[in-house]
């Protein structure tokens, strides 16, 4: 491994922690920047990053700050969906149709009756196909342990976010469900609906570019949530957690460097 890369990574992490310490005193959310940066280096294409970045920030701000962003979020999402024009291919996918026919055939052979075959397989297989397509973007394995990086060894388990971000996301949910201000419930609902709206088109079709955007959007959205909850931690724990996260990041970087497909 190039020793210069190692030194740069070390320096980066050193200053990262310094920046965090300073920014926490003045404006807690400034440290979002280095956290995002360290994760950005994993994303396959910067070109694909712009739309989800804007979108995620708007969704994040909708949830955490002000109602005025609601309209903006919806407009951006609508634009994104319309621009992608996903194909609705799930209902004519040959694999799915073959599977329905095969399982129905087995039922008819046993029961000598079409009713159970229809009840058990007709629509359910199509619904399961839709869920499966949707699941590809919400699957914790995909987000936290097995994202698609063309430039990296295929077998290396690396997600869009690190698995320890999950703890922070759960902490964010914990803070959310136990807060006194009920108005935030509607904001969470808008956030969840936004994600569902984002994913519906891609669950109906197979648009690869769009899939990448969705994955990146979700990753960044979750990153904002986890950063937010990092800021909410007790101060002595925050610094400890942040240092630990940086250390884990460093270990990952050292390993990733050896697994790049050249």
């Amino acid at each position: 491994m190039n020793i210069l890369v190692l030194i740069i990574i070390y320096l980066f992490l050193f200053f990262n922690i310094k920046i965090f310490k300073i920014s926490y005193k003045t404006a807690p959310y400034i440290f979002l920047t280095p956290v995002i940066f360290i994760n950005l280096i994993y994303f396959p294409s910067l070109k694909l990053l712009l739309v989800p970045l804007i979108l995620t920030l708007s969704v994040g701000l909708t949830i955490y700050n002000s109602k005025k962003y609601n309209l903006l979020t919806l407009i951006i999402m609508l634009f994104l969906i319309l621009s992608c024009k996903p194909e609705i291919s799930v209902f004519r996918d040959q694999n799915t149709i073959n599977q329905i026919n095969s399982q129905r055939g087995e039922d008819i052979a046993i029961y000598k009756n079409l009713l159970i075959a229809k009840l058990a397989h007709n629509k359910s297989t199509l619904i399961f196909t839709l869920i499966k397509n949707t699941e590809q973007y919400l699957d914790p394995v995909k987000i936290f342990a097995s994202a698609n990086y063309p430039w990296l060894n295929h077998y290396y388990s690396l997600g869009y976010l690190f698995p320890w971000d999950l703890i922070l996301i759960f902490y964010a949910i914990y803070l959310f469900v136990n807060q006194q201000n009920k108005q935030n419930n509607s904001k969470l609902l808008i956030g969840i609906l936004s994600i569902i709206i984002l994913i519906i088109p891609v669950s109906l079709g197979q648009n690869e570019e769009y899939s990448k955007i969705i994955a990146t959007t979700l990753a960044l959205f979750l990153l904002i949530i986890s950063t937010k909850s990092l800021g909410k931690l007790n101060r002595k724990y925050t610094f400890f957690a942040y240092t630990l996260a940086c250390l884990f990041n460093l270990l990952h970087l050292l390993t990733i460097n050896q697994l790049i497909v050249r």
Partner: protein, 561 residues
């Protein structure tokens, strides 16, 4: 504790129907683990020794594996009572499975739900009774199902200890935990970690209990108990964690994963930070395996593997429960809901959380992805959470809306039950009879009936329609169905580590080219074990087909050319 007899009888009927109805007939054949358990139980009941002649062994040496002892000793009692047959092998598991439902019901009624919501324990009981995850593993001779019973009992006693810190309760925790641990390999990880976590959660009570015991007059009992428990723990560790009993864990440990060993490690082996990278790779792989248990597909359509890979099959829960699982983290984390629903709002959410987190740990450190048997222990916690979600979305609604929600959920369960029944009774045997070792029992029974007509019966241990992929342990089927005298088998000099030749049965791959055609032999193997152009209809004595109609085994008489 008052129990409604009407509901109890419905629950018992439900449990009886799902666990005992045709348990010996469906699935229609015993799998290899079941015959291994069965024949060892038979030898124990006859001689007190296992198939290898070891007297009352602490673990049972099987082919490439060491089986935990509890289920085999339990089964030996049933074999003694009703003989060596399918029912005797599956009955103990079905009984403990049914008892698990009742114990979970009592546990949740007494310790989980608040007195106002104690009726929710009925919901937990019914959901457990109809759970596809539990029904499926209750109708085979699986050790995990018996272990689950003792785990629920262990957690029941942990709560009892939390309420009343006595030496007796501590002993009950210790005994139930040790039996669970001696029943199934995964419990060796779950039980110590979960008990330790529970004690950490209630640490203040533990400290005051120890202080109280040390200052009491009867402190001698405390010291004696401590010494006995330490000795037992030492023995358990010696035999099952570090001794030969740990071989199973070593053979399936995540580090043995093919991708990790052959595709990842070589990539980092030349680096100056190779040791760090190896650690990072291992942790990353483990985290991936762990998170796979939180994927939707595991719960919705692939958890139980009842169909061919790639097809939509049966998940470990009903589809309608998926939505309920999604909202369960919100319930678990909401202090307000916890206070309403749980009798101990501080302890129970933590227990349920760690029950799930630790429950998935044993399966995640093995080299299989999404294995539903090794994490069966989490099922009760998941069902309690599903019940809480049901409470939130049903009870908290106004009357009309409540009726609509209830109707929709009932419809969802109705559809789920139809789908599970269809997968379990139709597609599972049709598509996967080969993987469940179907055919061995039929061919073994045929060969045993005709063995006297031949000098040798040569059995090919390889099987499968797709080629010579699967190696089995067919000698156990032949021993099982012939009820071969254990004393003769134990002293047979031909018996070795991976071969089980006995009487005139020889277990080795068939090599037709070297057979000279003169011996009076019966050959048993898959159709591809024989050159089809040389087998005449007169030689083909008997055929066994898989349930999908493909030929599974042929019995070919060698001397009828």
């Amino acid at each position: 504790m008052k129990i409604n007899k009407y509901f109890l009888s419905i629950l018992l009927i439900c449990v009886f129907f799902t666990r005992f109805f045709f348990v010996d007939k469906f699935f229609p054949t015993l799998n290899m683990d079941e015959v291994a358990i069965g024949y060892n139980a038979y030898t124990i009941s006859k001689t007190g020794s296992d198939e290898r002649g070891v007297f009352l062994p602490p673990y049972f040496r099987s082919v490439g594996d060491y089986k935990m002892p509890v289920l085999i000793y339990l089964t030996s009692a049933f074999v003694k009572l009703i003989g060596l047959n399918e029912l005797a092998i599956r009955l103990p598991v079905a009984i403990f499975s049914s008892l698990s439902v009742l114990v979970l019901f009592i546990f949740s009624k007494k310790y989980i739900f608040s007195s106002k919501n104690s009726y929710l324990s009925w919901w937990v009981g019914f959901l457990f009774a109809i759970s596809p995850w539990h029904i499926y593993f209750s109708r085979f001779g699986f050790e995990a199902t018996v272990s689950l019973f003792f785990i629920i009992l262990n957690i029941y006693f942990l709560y009892q200890f939390n309420n009343r810190q006595t030496l007796k309760n501590l002993w009950l925790i210790f005994i139930s935990g040790t039996i669970a641990l001696l029943t199934y390999h995964s419990a060796k990880i779950f039980i110590p970690l979960f008990n330790l976590t529970f004690f950490i959660i209630i640490r203040s009570k533990i400290i005051s209990f120890i202080k109280k015991e040390l200052t009491s007059r009867s402190k001698i009992y405390y010291y004696v108990s401590l010494v006995i428990q330490v000795i037992i723990i030492f023995l358990v560790f010696k035999f099952y964690y570090f001794g030969p009993g740990s071989s199973r864990a070593k053979s399936v440990f995540l580090i043995m994963d093919y991708e990790y060993q052959h595709l990842l490690l070589p990539a980092v082996s030349q680096s100056i930070v190779a040791s760090i990278s190896r650690g990072v790779l291992f942790i990353s792989l483990w985290l991936k395996r762990y998170l796979e248990y939180f994927s939707v597909n595991f719960y919705l359509y692939s958890g139980l593997n009842l169909v061919r890979p790639g097809e939509f099959g049966q998940g470990v829960i009903y589809p309608v429960e998926l939505f309920l699982i999604f909202i369960s983290p919100l319930i678990l984390l909401s202090k307000k809901i916890n206070q309403k629903i749980f009798s101990n709002p501080k302890l129970t959410p933590q227990v349920l959380l760690f029950w799930i987190l630790i429950g998935f740990l044993p399966a995640s450190i093995t080299n299989n992805s999404q294995q539903s048997l090794r994490n069966l222990f989490v099922l009760p916690a998941i069902l309690i959470l599903i019940t809480c979600s049901l409470w939130v979305i049903v009870i908290n609604q106004k009357r009309i809306r409540r009726s609509i929600v209830l109707a929709l959920i009932s419809l969802g369960y109705f559809f789920g039950i139809i789908k599970f029944t269809d997968h379990y009774l139709v597609h599972f045997p049709y598509q996967l009879s080969e993987h469940m070792h179907y055919g061995w029992s039929q061919i073994a029974q045929y060969a045993i009936r005709h063995a006297q007509e031949y000098d040798r019966v040569i059995v090919d241990p390889r099987f499968g329609t797709e080629g010579q992929k699967i190696y089995g342990v067919p000698h156990l089927y032949f021993l099982f169905y012939s009820q071969y005298d254990p004393k003769i088998y134990q002293s047979d000099p031909r018996r070795s580590e991976d071969k089980g030749d006995f009487a005139n049965f020889i277990f080795e791959p068939i090599n037709w080219q070297t057979y000279d055609g003169k011996g009076n032999y019966l050959f048993i193997g898959s159709p591809w074990s024989f050159p089809k152009d040389q087998i005449t209809p007169a030689m083909l004595n008997f055929k066994v087909k898989f349930i999908n109609g493909q030929d599974a085994f042929w019995a070919v008489a060698g001397n009828k050319k």
